[in-house]
Subunit: 370 residues, 2 copies
C-alpha cells in the first residue's frame, strides 16, 4: 500500500505562561535558566469530556531539568483512539486532570541532566513504555522513560511504533504458536494494526484472511491489502454464506483470529476459525458486543481472550520491548512495514483532532508534527 504522507508545514514555536512539571500542572512560574527546559506549547485539558470541547493549546513555562532528567524536543506524536478515550475519561487507565494529551511520539534530545549517560543532544528518543503528555513541544522526564532509536527511521513511523505495530507483533506471538504455512484471520483489516498484522505475518510465512466493511471503495481497499501481502480479503457481505471455510482454496483453516470490531464481524472470525482456535479481541469499533454460541465453546472448543497493550507494556519486559521496537523500526526503515498516516502541523491541531474523532469521514491516522 502506498502511504499517504501529507506534510502541511510545521508550526512556529511560541511562548506562554502555565507551568508543566511532568504531569502536574500548577500556577507557579519559574525563572528560565540553563537548567530548565524551554517553554512548551501543549494540548491541555482541565476536565474530562469531548476532546474538541475540553482541549486547548497553550504554552507551559520552563521546568527544571534535574540530574537524571532528559529534556526532549518533540518531533511528532499521533492521535490514537485511546488518546481520545483518555480525554473523554472512559479509558480504564488515564492521568489525573489537568493533563497534557497524547501517549506516544518521537523527539530529539534537547538537553540532559548532569548524571545522564548514553544520551546526547540530537539523539532521537521515544517514551517506552509510552507515557502520557506527548502532545507538546518540550518534555522533561527521567532518562529511564526514554528509549534511543535509530535516526534513520522515518519520523512518522518512529512516532507511532509503540502502539499499533507493537500490538500486531505481540498478538502474533502471545496466543498461539504459529509456524510458517499457518493462517490467521482478522477483521478491521484496513486499520494500522490490521495492515501491520498482514505484513508481519507475511514475513513469517503466515497466511492472512482479512475482513473489511462493505463500503464505497472496497475494491481499492482489497487491492491495497493484497499488495501488502494479504492472501484473502472479503467484505462482510461476501461472508454471508453457510460455510465460509469452503471459500478457502489453498490455505489452511486459521487457528488464530484478531477482532477489533465486535458484533457480526466478530462472528465471522469465529466461523473461519478451526477446531480449537483462539479469537483475540483488541478493539470494538462497532461498539457492539461479541455473541458466541454454546456449541462454539463446547464442540468447536474455541477460546476467546483479549489483548491490552498497556498491560503488556507495564509488565517487566523492558529488554524484550526494546528489541521488538528496534525490530519494527528496522522494518520501517527498510520499507518492509508500511501503513497509511497523515502528517498534520501542530498549528492545525483541532482540524487533526476532528479527523481523528471521525467528524470528517474516514481518515488516515493523524500524526502531529511539532
Amino acid at each position: 500500500m502506498a502511504t499517504a504522507k501529507i506534510v502541511r508545514g510545521v508550526s512556529p514555536p511560541s511562548r506562554v505562561l502555565l507551568l508543566l512539571r511532568s504531569r502536574t500542572l500548577t500556577s507557579a512560574v519559574r525563572p528560565y535558566s540553563a537548567a530548565t527546559s524551554p517553554p512548551s506549547k501543549a494540548v491541555v485539558y482541565d476536565q474530562h469530556g469531548s476532546p474538541d470541547v475540553v482541549t486547548r493549546v497553550t504554552e507551559l513555562p520552563p521546568v527544571e531539568i534535574k540530574e537524571n532528567d532528559v529534556c526532549v524536543r518533540m518531533l511528532a506524536a499521533p492521535i490514537n483512539p485511546s488518546d481520545i478515550n483518555r480525554i473523554e475519561g472512559v479509558y480504564p487507565v488515564r492521568p489525573p486532570v489537568p493533563a497534557v494529551g497524547g501517549y506516544e511520539g518521537v523527539g530529539e534530545v534537547h538537553a540532559i541532566g548532569s548524571a545522564v549517560k548514553g544520551l546526547s543532544p540530537g539523539d532521537w528518543v521515544i517514551p517506552s513504555p509510552p507515557s502520557s503528555g506527548t502532545w507538546q513541544t518540550y518534555i522533561v522526564k527521567e532518562q529511564t522513560v526514554w528509549q534511543k532509536i535509530d535516526k534513520r527511521t522515518p519520523m512518522e513511523y518512529a512516532a507511532t511504533v509503540t502502539v499499533n505495530p507493537l500490538t500486531a507483533l505481540r498478538m502474533l506471538e502471545d496466543f498461539v504458536a504459529l509456524k510458517s504455512g499457518d493462517t490467521i484471520v482478522q477483521n478491521g483489516a484496513t486499520s494500522i494494526v490490521g495492515q501491520c498484522v498482514i505484513q508481519l505475518a507475511r514475513l513469517r510465512g503466515i497466511h492472512s484472511i482479512n475482513i473489511i466493511r462493505d463500503r464505497a471503495g472496497s475494491d481499492e481497499a482489497k487491492a491495497n491489502l493484497k499488495q501488502l501481502g494479504a492472501d484473502e480479503v472479503y467484505t462482510e457481505s461476501q461472508l454471508e454464506v453457510k460455510n465460509v471455510r469452503g471459500l478457502l482454496d489453498n490455505i489452511p483453516e486459521p487457528a488464530l483470529g484478531f477482532n477489533c470490531v465486535g458484533g457480526k464481524s466478530a462472528s465471522l472470525i469465529l466461523k473461519f476459525l478451526k477446531q480449537g482456535g483462539t479469537m483475540v479481541t483488541y478493539g470494538g469499533m462497532s461498539k457492539k458486543p461479541i455473541t458466541v454460541s454454546t456449541s462454539s465453546f463446547i464442540f468447536k472448543e474455541l477460546t476467546l481472550k483479549g489483548f491490552w497493550l498497556q498491560r503488556w507494556m507495564s509488565s517487566d519486559k523492558a529488554e524484550e520491548r526494546q528489541s521488538m521496537i528496534d525490530y519494527l523500526l528496522g522494518l520501517c526503515h527498510n520499507g518492509k512495514l508500511n501503513y497509511e498516516l497523515e502528517v498534520a502541523p501542530f498549528d492545525d491541531f483541532h482540524t487533526a483532532l476532528e479527523k481523528a474523532m471521525g467528524k470528517r469521514g474516514s481518515q488516515p491516522k493523524q500524526v502531529l508534527k511539532f
Copy 2:
C-alpha cells in the same frame, strides 16, 4: 441435600428376536450356547428423531462371547441430556443408526471369554470411557471397555459417575490452578454437575457462589445447596444490581466460573469474575448464546473457554481417568458426594424418558434400573 431415590421395582427379563453384535443390528439369528450372551432387552432407535417417537424397547438375540469379551448384565443406566441429543441426531459424536440408546451405566459381569484376566462373574464394571448402548440388559464388549469398580458403591451413583461428577472434577482441575480459600462461581447450580462442583470444591476448601433460576421453591433449593456446602446462592433476579461483587462479604472474588445456561445467566458469571478470570462453558440450557462486551476481554482480561467431557475422555489418559473414578466413587460410598436422582424401572422406560425430556416439569435425573 437429601437424595431422592425412588425405586419402583425391577422389570422381569424377556426374550425376543433381533441380534445386536456390539453396536451393529442385523437380522441374523444365532443359536444360544455356552459361548453366547443371553438375549438382551434393549432400547433401540432405527433413525434419528424425537426420542419418544423413534425409540422402541425390543429384545435382541444372543451374541457370541469371544475370547477377549466380557458379557455384562446391566444393573442401571441414566438418561442424560446428551443421550437425548444423540438420538435426535444433533450431538456432534453419535453412533450410526440403528443403535441402542444410553452411554454410561453400571453392570455385573455375567460371563467372560477364555482369555480374560482380572475380571470374574459377579464383579461390578462400568464402561470407561463411556460408550454407546447401555440401555439394555446384556452387553458383550471387549475387556478393555470395562473398568472394575468397588461393589460397595451405591448402584445409582456407579451408573452416573462417568459423566456429571467427572465433568465437575475436571473443570475444577483443568483451567485455573485453584488453592484452598479461592472461589468459583457457577450457574445451573441445582444440576448434578452443579451439586458436584459445590461438594468437590468444598472438599478442597474452595468457596462457591451459586446462581439459580427464579422459580417457585427457590428458597428450598437455596437451603439444599447450602447444606451441600455452597457459600452463596443467588437467584438471577437478586443479581440485577450494578455491582454484584459488592454482595460478597468474606470470600474473595472468583477466578473461575462455570456456565451451563448461557444468555443473561452467563453474563452474571462474567460480572462476578475477577480481573483475568476464566469462564468455562459446558452447557447451554437456556438455548441462548453468550454475549460478552469488548471491554470484558480487553480491560478485564477475561478468558472464555469450553469443556467437553467426551473429548477429554477420548484422550490418552486411561490411568488418570480410572483413579478419578475410584476417587469419586469412594466419596459417594462415604457419603461425601451426594446428588439427586430418581431410579425408574426399565419397564417404565417411556415414562422416565418423558421426564428426562422435560415433558413432565422439572424432574430429577432418571436412572433406569434393569
